[in-house]
Symmetry: C2
Subunit: 426 residues, 2 copies
Amino acid sequence: MENASHVVVVGGGFGGLQTVHGLSGAGARVTLIDQRNHHLFQPLLYQAATTILPISEIAWPLRRLLRHRKDATTLLARVSGIDKAAREVIFEDGQSITYDTLVLATGARHAYFGHDDWEPYAPGLKTLEDATNIRRRVLFAFEAAERAASDELRQAHMTFAVIGAGPTGVELVGVIAELAQRILPSEFRNIDSRQSRVLLVEAGPKVLNAFPDKLSDYARDALEALGVEVMTGQAVTACDSKGISLGDTRIPARTIIWAAGVQASGAARWLEADADRAGRVFVEPDLTVKNHPEIFVIGDTAAVKTAEGKPVPGIAPAAKQMGNYVAGVIRSRLKNAPAPEPFRYRHQGNLATVGRSAAVVDFGRFKLKGALAWWFWGIAHIYFLIGTRSRVTVAWSWLWSYVTGQNSARLITTPEVTKQADVDGS
Amino acid sequence: MENASHVVVVGGGFGGLQTVHGLSGAGARVTLIDQRNHHLFQPLLYQAATTILPISEIAWPLRRLLRHRKDATTLLARVSGIDKAAREVIFEDGQSITYDTLVLATGARHAYFGHDDWEPYAPGLKTLEDATNIRRRVLFAFEAAERAASDELRQAHMTFAVIGAGPTGVELVGVIAELAQRILPSEFRNIDSRQSRVLLVEAGPKVLNAFPDKLSDYARDALEALGVEVMTGQAVTACDSKGISLGDTRIPARTIIWAAGVQASGAARWLEADADRAGRVFVEPDLTVKNHPEIFVIGDTAAVKTAEGKPVPGIAPAAKQMGNYVAGVIRSRLKNAPAPEPFRYRHQGNLATVGRSAAVVDFGRFKLKGALAWWFWGIAHIYFLIGTRSRVTVAWSWLWSYVTGQNSARLITTPEVTKQADVDGS
């Protein structure tokens, strides 16, 4: 194996992991590099952020996932650059590793469209740490409200603003509304958590923009039934520690969550390659970088179009399809076989949940909404979870939550928490 | 209720929570104050620190535990002092709350016997954050070893030193040895995790000092069978980021864990009361503070003797007995009934696990060791876990670990992890 072609995959998300899986038995030596030790099942991240699931059930150590792959090595390291001429990936600590083939699948972070200064006040949701941070903020807001010194301050602590009404925003706001309306009321003595304001702010004209109008309208109605104030056509113009501004309207809100956009990781910078406004690298029809057939870019890091000329959405199935495709191209090369056809994205559908018992499902001709859609969504996601253990635990957590009306993951685990108390309005 | 006698309990551990439970229906108004939002089941904390259990299964929000107690309020706040004359508990943020009766159950932290500068290098295990920190260090040590630039550095990363051979030290070291010997070997390509050194360093003459010699000897043998190097009669004389010194012997070890002693919380300072060397407040036979019958101190914060004149051990059953007793005293006073007899500790026994399939149990005449003792220990702890959900999940995690030989809680969740890489020996 020492002389085998060396494939280096950067990023252990859906795209990177699928590439590694697709290279099983291909005769290559594979190195998977990630700055974290785990693969994260992002579609359920909003549940970890909103106390439904423990974070331990939606992420798995990459080493464990690849333990049977004797041809694959996992490295926990942070990439800082790429030397295309020397075919080297360079790490932050100064070490480096050479490749014959490089696959960049480094994903995306949330983006603030030129307002990076908003990030401390309006955190986004992309990692386990983000989820813990948002959970802490949401739970702590109720604690601060319970101890607030004035009505005005109490109301600010009990106002939650989620910015961006895509699937992540809709899913977050649905669970926050249910926490306030159904789960927490019996636990507080000074406040009535049902009087919380839960806002979903969207600059565009509708919620769930990628869905047909009928499902968007249903989702909006279902959110409003949960007590969410849906504010479409409203752009956030300011954002600070005390609240948000929508033009002339000021809304005091101590908990703000950003779900309005993403920016690709630094791959374009590492490669000095052309990229679109969101930082996604422009790739050839076979997902390679121009003039560098040995470098592939996939998933949220790549700017890829559908057959209809629309951007391929930044969702798990798209990343997996690209990972699979790239593994196929590499296998063909290793066998000196003809190159496969250009990559073609097959859209399978869109799903989003609304609270804990409704969802919208759009698979083209097959559309579904309400409780049945939730069950479809739940079964599909349990099917895609990796590992029997997590499947059982997640199903158990959902069943428990459904039967008892209580969520299980309600711990605040930051020691500094009470320092941020701000209960006296300072 | 507004005019009811107000009992303020500080600390939501075993002692504080038992006090609140014991006051159910007593006609008092109860306020439970804690700087964290959860009760922690400390006897299983070592399992969270060593990847056996997710942290979400060994802690529960205090609010949730008390949601049916309409006479009880929970406050998330950090206490900074007590004004005995005004009968006020003062919070760090400047707010305060008055009491008629005060119960201090604020527990203990690990102590370094005059070597507080060792803390950054040898963290202790008392909170969920401690557990996450230790888990991160242990898992990261193997990652760093996998990438180490020299044999010497690799060996330092693969050397784990636990200081203190009480139950916590023995339990930690047992699981770390099993991780190295049984769980991780298949996952690494550059290192053989079975070549790790796992040290248990104890200044006293034997492991598990509170147990009879026969059980101590058994535990030592069982640890050695797991590959642990047990070093008794060896005091640590220096401790830094690179290793430990035992007199003239220097041992390079990048992961050091402190399990050698505890110091009571700041209650003595708040009260300006007499305390023993470990900071435990001297209390009257009814667990009140001298000249202040309205202030009780219980659990690890109190210096209490057994009928034989030995210190009551700092374990959960002792704290619960004291909480129960104090609730009884308060109830008697509310009814103007005669005061109960002085507090008397009833020792039920000592338990400690050795790895994942052996334990020692000492209930006086009833002694047990080996696999049967582990089952006894496991069933006892599942019985004492709060809530059906956790019982099922913990049993499931143990069963999973037992059948598959894999632990479930292996996530590193600190973004800075690779910055601490230190793989090049710097």
